[in-house]
Structures are given as C-alpha cells and as structure tokens.
C-alpha cells in the first residue's frame, strides 16, 4: 500500500516544540498550580509566546512551493507493519494525475506514530495550518496576557492558565495533524478544553449545565467526523489527508457527498451552525477571555479550517458546496436576527460570532476559500478585541453584563469606548477596516460563483449586523448611566436570569481599575483590526492559490460588478447604522431611553426571545425520549422482565428445597429408622421379587 503524505517529510524539532510546549505547560500548571499561584499567569502566557516564536523560523520551509512537488510514499508490508517499520522512498512524480492535484499543498511534515495500516500520524505545517497556528498561538498569547489582569485574585488562577494552555495544545493538534484521525483527536480535545473553561465556575449550576451541553453537542459533531473516517477508510484504506485527496477522483459523487456531509456535521457542531448552534450563547458562562479566545477567535472557526483543508473534496462535489453554503447563509442570518433580541453584552457578541462564522462557512462552502479564510483572520482580530473590550467594561462595572443597566459609559471609560467603536466599525465592514475587505470578498464570492440567493442573504445580514452592533454601542456608551436605577422600570423581571449573574470569584461588588495588562493586548489587536484586511490586496489570493488549486472559479462579471456590490453592501450597512442611530442615539431617543428599553424588553417577539425554539425542539426530540427509554430500561425491563424469568426459576428451586428440608429432622434415630426401612425394602424386593 502506498502512503501519500502532503509536505516534505523530515525532522522539525521546532514544530514539535510549538506543538507540545503548551501541553507541557498545561500539565505543569495543573499539577503545580497551587504552588506557583500568581506566577501561573505569566508562565502560561510565556509558554504560548514561545510556541508562537517557534513557528516563525518555519515560515520559509512551510510556504516554499514549486520546486517541492514531492510526494512521500511508504511501502508497508501489509499487516506486519504495525510499528514504524515502513520503508521510505521519495518520488517526484508519483501516480500521475492525482499527484498533480495534491503536490501543490507542499509544506513540512513530521512523522510521529503508526497505529495500524492506514492509521499513521504526523504533523503537517503548510500555508493553511500556518495561518491558523500563528493565530492560535499569537492571539492566545495576547489573551493570556490580558487574563493575567482579568483573573487576578481568582482562587483558581493557575488552573485557568492550565486550561488555556491545554486549549492551545489541543487546537494546535487539530490544525497540525496530517490526517483525519489526528484532526478528530484535536477536535475532541478542544471540546474538552472548552468544557473545562465554560464550566470554570463549576459551583454555578448554569455554568455546569452550559458546559455539559457544549460538550455533548460537540460529541455529536465528533461522531460525524468519525463516520466520515469510516467512509474514507473503507473507500481508500487510509485516513491520511494525502491518501484521501490523492484518490478523490476514484470516489463516486454520492460517496463524496456523504463524506462531505458527515464532515460538515462536525463543522456545524464546532462552529455553531444551525441547528447545532445552541451551545454557543450558553458558553458565555465562561470567563470573558475564554469567550474571546475559544468562542470567538479560534475554536469555533475549526469548521472553517476543516472545509478549507478538505478543499479537494469540496471542489469535486457541487452538492456539498450547495449544502454548506446554504447552511452557512442561514446561520449568518439567524445569528444576526437573534443578536437583535439580546441584552447581555456577551450574548450579543456570541450571536454575532455565530453570524460571522456563518459568513466564513458560506465563503469556504461555495469555494471562495481564500475569502473565508481571510474573514477568519480579520474576525479573530476584531472579535477578540470586542470581547476583551466587553471584558474591560464588565470588569469595571463589577460584573454587570446587562447593557440596559449600562449607558453613558463613553465618558467614564474612554478607552473602552474607542476600542468598541473601532471593533464595531470593523465588524460592520466600514472601509478600510479589516472587516470591510474580508466580508466584501465573501459576499461577492457567493455571487461570483453563482449563488444569488446566498448573496442576498449576505447583504441583508450585513445590514442587520450593522443595526444590532451599533445598538450595542449606543445603548452601552451613549445617554446616561442607568446602573443605579431600579431594573424593574426597564422591564427586567428576573435580574438573575437576564445576564446579571455574578462571576463568583469576584465577590466584591466594586469597580476594578483597568490594568495596563488588559489594555496593552487590546491595543495590539487594534492593529490587526485596522490592518489585517489589507492582506487581501497584498497578495493574499496568490499566497493561497496553490493550496486551493482547483477551486470553482467565479464566472467573472455577473450582472453586478465587484465595485457595484461593494457600494450596495456599504449602503445597506449605512442604512442599518442610521436606523440604530435614530432609535438609540439621536437626542430625541436618548431622552426617552428608559421607556424605549422597557417597551422593547416587554414586547420582544416570542420567537426571538426563545431563540427560534431550537432548545425546546432538541429537548423534546432527543433528550426527553432518551431519558424515557433509559427509565424504561432501568426501572421496568431490567428488574421486572429480564430478571423476572430468572426469579421464577429460583422460586421453583427454593420450593423444592423446602420440600426436601422437611425430611431433615436432625434426629439420629429417625435417620436410622429410615435406613432400616430402606434396607428392609431392598431385602423384601429381592426376597419376594425372586419368587415371582
């Protein structure tokens, strides 16, 4: 069996270092956390920084292409090659046409272990994984620095950084793996890290519930990928990227669609796509830096990575592109609509994350991989910045998260105000901030490739996004401060249910001064928020051209040229902003702000207030029936039906035993008499029987 590996095989200690250092950090901080206490934060951040720096020297090797159209092939001698006893040989023109399709993905490859024929593991660093790895470690580093300030005084300070480091390790496993099983390992481990961090305040029942929900829904995604692995292994005998992509031509369209569909179940669960998105808003139970790193910048974009990684599969399957593009569009719209109905600052950002990932999935789904990946990059910057800014606000207001109880913070927190404004402008796609370039590219990419319906959704969603993000900005920072007034006058009936839950670690309800450690990372992120989009005109497409070779190309100019589309989107966005201004920030609106918020709270349309009833439906369709069946098994079938038959047998046996017992009187003479009578019977039988 020939084993095709993407990238040039070799030994890359720096790559292994970047991969394993966070794991070592996690284990050390977990084990010795109580000892190092306040040093835990700096140690965690430093390790993440080391991982980032270790990746930089690999840039040239990982991006060099052209001359390295190598396929690495191993000949394993059947079942005997359970260990790493493979014989290696390089060949520059292995297996003809298929080689051309995959050789363009050159990068560097480090072999690790082999489980069984077809299940071999290694690390692969190419352009795609390089971008992700740099974002994970880079933004991971910034957010850990921020967390040192944010989490100061928490009783589980070091454990928090252990989890963050573990997350970075898991995410690196996900993006650096050279095969689907390794990807699945990373996929599961990031889910675990997410579980730990959502449930970080584990004495709060809502956090416990949210963490379990997130984990279980993500396992649903895991089994989707698992089933895709079955399909691929049965079809090509391996789960390695190289082996699968080299054999795409051999797969039937139905099989390709099945594989892509199963993989997409994983993407949907991890990247909060409809209908598996319900865990993401609840995941905001975690500390705010976690929301920024895991539930905005990196982990939730794993689905985008997977689809971009599997570009050869999606390129060959028109139905899969249609499916994924549609789901992405629906998610973008649904997330934006649900964002309209939220009052919790973090939940607004969570729904906006869901909506933006919908854009990315729509982009990579229809084949505009480079646009989708750029939107991942710009979103990582501006959304992390938005979350961290929200964290500064929450921190300063003694853990208040309800924007109805904020207001007028523009003058109290000028840094937060300007940072939030910048982030909001970026997410709305105002030129020339980063979001403008990437979102525009995604939206136009759908039209270019012949999906006008998705294009319409994209434009509409851009307008809604502008409205609810500016609503967030205006309600929070404009007008007068409402933190001191009675919540019931704003229509808030159950303060504890509307996002006023207090992170119990900060049990002193007073405003915290904002530390420089929290401001500096946000300032660094601002650079990306402003400038990352410029990569689009600085050769981004050329950089990724080899990785996404064979992607469906646009049909050129359709009825709308790109410039026209840009103007249309910008106009829609400006309309959204204008409506938000009139409703929330115009002088007339500010005068009656309290009354307006009260009316909006009370008259929230039911479908929006209940998040389109997804939770109710999932509960009724899956959770309740499973519990009912379980109760049937445990309390009826087991003790009554299955055990019943056995118990009948034992009752009959016991009755026979009671019968026999009555002969055992315990009296010696009775036994002797029985003996004699028995002997007499024998004698009588032979004596008289012989006569007859």
């Amino acid at each position: 069996m020939e084993h095709v590996v993407l990238g040039i095989d070799g030994g890359y200690p720096l790559l292994v270092l970047a991969w394993l250092a966070p794991l070592a950090g996690a284990i050390a901080l977990w084990a010795f956390g109580p000892r190092v206490r306040s040093l835990g934060g700096p140690i965690g951040a430093a390790i993440c920084g080391v991982a980032f720096l270790a990746l930089l020297p690999l840039w040239n090797a990982a991006t060099a292409i052209g001359s390295h159209a190598y396929l690495f092939s191993t000949h394993s001698n059947g079942i005997g090659a359970a260990g790493a006893s493979a014989v290696a040989s390089y060949s520059t023109n292995a297996s003809g046409a298929n080689a051309a399709a995959v050789s363009t993905l050159a990068g560097i490859h480090q072999s690790l272990v082999s489980w069984a024929p077809g299940f071999t593991f290694g690390l692969l660093l190419d352009r795609l994984s390089l971008v992700w790895a740099l974002v994970i470690t880079g933004i991971g580093f910034l957010i850990q620095v921020y967390s040192i300030g944010y989490m100061t005084g928490d009783r589980a300070f070091a454990r928090f950084f252990a989890y963050l480091n573990f997350f970075v390790f898991a995410m690196m496993t996900l993006v650096l793996s050279d095969n689907f099983v390794g990807l699945l390992v990373g996929w599961g481990l990031v889910g675990l890290a997410s579980y730990f961090l959502i449930g970080f305040y584990f004495d709060r029942p809502s956090a416990v519930k949210a963490s379990r929900k997130a984990f279980v829904i993500n396992v649903v995604g895991d089994i989707g990928i698992l089933f895709a692995i079955f399909l691929m292994f049965a079809a090509v005998g391996s789960a390695g990227y190289g082996d699968v992509f080299a054999n795409v031509a051999k797969l039937s369209p139905g099989m390709l669609f099945a594989i892509c569909g199963c993989l997409f179940i994983g993407c949907a669960a991890k990247s909060a796509q409809v209908p598996l998105h319900t865990w993401l808003p609840d995941a905001m139970e975690g500390p705010t830096p976690v929301s920024a790193l895991i539930h905005a910048a990196t982990m939730v974009t794993a689905g985008v990575y997977l689809i971009a990684r599997c570009a050869p599969l999606w390129n060959a399957s028109e139905e899969s592109r249609m499916l994924v593009g549609t789901i992405g569009g629906i998610t973008a719209l649904a997330g934006a609509l649900l964002g309209l109905a939220q009052w919790d600052i973090k939940r607004i950002l969570a729904y906006s994350t869901m909506s933006q990932i919908g854009y990315m999935i729509m982009g990579v789904g229809v084949g505009a991989y480079d646009a989708g990946v750029l939107h991942f990059l710009t979103h990582a910057f501006f959304k992390a910045q938005l979350f961290l800014t929200a964290g500064i606000v929450i921190h300063a207001l003694a853990d208040q998260q309800d924007i109805r109880l904020m207001g007028g913070l523009r003058t109290r927190q000028p840094f937060a105000f300007w940072s939030m404004t910048l982030g909001v402008l970026a997410i709305c796609g105002i030129a020339p901030l980063s979001g403008f370039w990437s979102k525009d590219a995604v939206i136009y990419g759908t039209l270019e490739r012949g999906y006008p319906a998705l294009y319409a959704i994209g434009v509409l969603t851009a307008g809604i996004t502008a409205f609810y993000m500016f609503r967030l900005l205006f309600v929070t920072f404009f007008g007068t401060y409402r933190g001191a007034i009675d919540p019931s006058s704003l229509g808030i009936r159950h303060p504890e249910l509307s996002g006023q839950a207090v992170e119990p670690a900060h049990d002193h309800h007073e405003a915290h001064p904002t530390s420089i450690l929290m401001i500096a990372p946000v300032a660094v992120l601002m650079i990306g928020t402003i400038g990352a989009g410029l990569l689009w005109i600085a050769g981004w497409r050329d950089f990724f051209a080899p990785a996404f070779a064979g992607a469906p190309e646009g049909h050129g100019a359709v009825f709308l040229p790109e410039l026209g589309s840009t103007i249309l989107v910008t106009a829609v966005v400006l309309v959204g902003i204008a409506i938000a201004y009139v409703r929330y920030a115009a002088p007339a609106a500010l005068r009656e702000a309290i009354e307006r918020l009260r009316v909006e709270t009370v008259r929230m349309p039911a479908p929006l207030a209940h998040a389109f009833y997804f939770d109710v439906a999932i509960d009724a369709l899956f959770v309740k029936p499973a519990q009912a069946l379980g109760r049937l098994a445990g309390t009826v079938l087991d003790p009554l039906v299955l055990d019943g038959a056995v118990r009948e047998t034992s009752i009959v046996t016991a009755w026979l035993g009671h019968l026999a017992r009555s002969f055992q009187t315990g009296l010696v003479r009775a036994y002797a008499l029985t003996l004699v009578v028995g002997a007499a019977c024998f004698v009588a039988y032979y004596a008289f029987g012989a006569v007859r």
Binding site: A660, G666, V668, V676
Partner: protein, 101 residues
C-alpha cells in the same frame, strides 16, 4: 451337632438384628455406638464364615479392614458425643437436632 456355616450365619443375623434394634430403640448415644459395634462384628463374623466356606482369604482381609474402620468410627463417635454433651448438657439423642434442615 456339627457347627457349620449355617449356624455362624444365623448367629451373625441375630447379632445384627440386636444391633439394629439397639440403634433404633435406645436414646443413649453410647449404647447406640455399642450397637453399631455389634453390627460391625456381625458383619465380620459373616465375612469370616464365607471366607472359610469358600476357601478365599479376601474375607479375612476385609474383616481386618472393618475392625480398623470400627475403631476409627468409635473414636470419632465418642469425641462427637463428648463435644455435644459439653454444649447441650444432655445425652438424649432425641433432644439433639443440631442438623435439622
């Protein structure tokens, strides 16, 4: 009168019957043990008689085996009687039913 095998067998039968009657009718375990000895010896007598009658030594050998077993049985039986007496302070077998099921 010539004493032949018939007479020995008759004696053996009488001895055995006496032993059986003793075991069934008496309530003192010591007497019961003696009655059992009586039955053993009745059997021994029969064995020896037949051995002589058929000029075969197996019967003699078996008689010795029975004597050995009888000795062991008497020893164990007496030990049990002593232990039971210590525990229940009675030697009436009708009042001892420790093995009742």
């Amino acid at each position: 009168m010539l004493v032949g095998p018939e007479q020995y067998i008759a004696l053996s039968a009488v001895m055995f019957s006496l032993g059986v009657a003793g075991v069934i009718l008496r309530r003192n375990p010591l007497i019961m043990l003696m009655s059992i000895e009586l039955m053993f010896n009745a059997a021994n007598l029969a064995l020896v008689t037949f051995a002589r009658a058929w000029a075969n030594n197996v019967g003699h050998i078996f008689a010795f085996l029975v004597i050995t077993v009888a000795a062991a049985e008497a020893a164990i039986g007496l030990a049990i009687v002593v232990v039971v007496f210590r525990k229940t302070a009675t030697v009436d077998v009708d009042e001892i039913a420790l093995l009742k099921g």
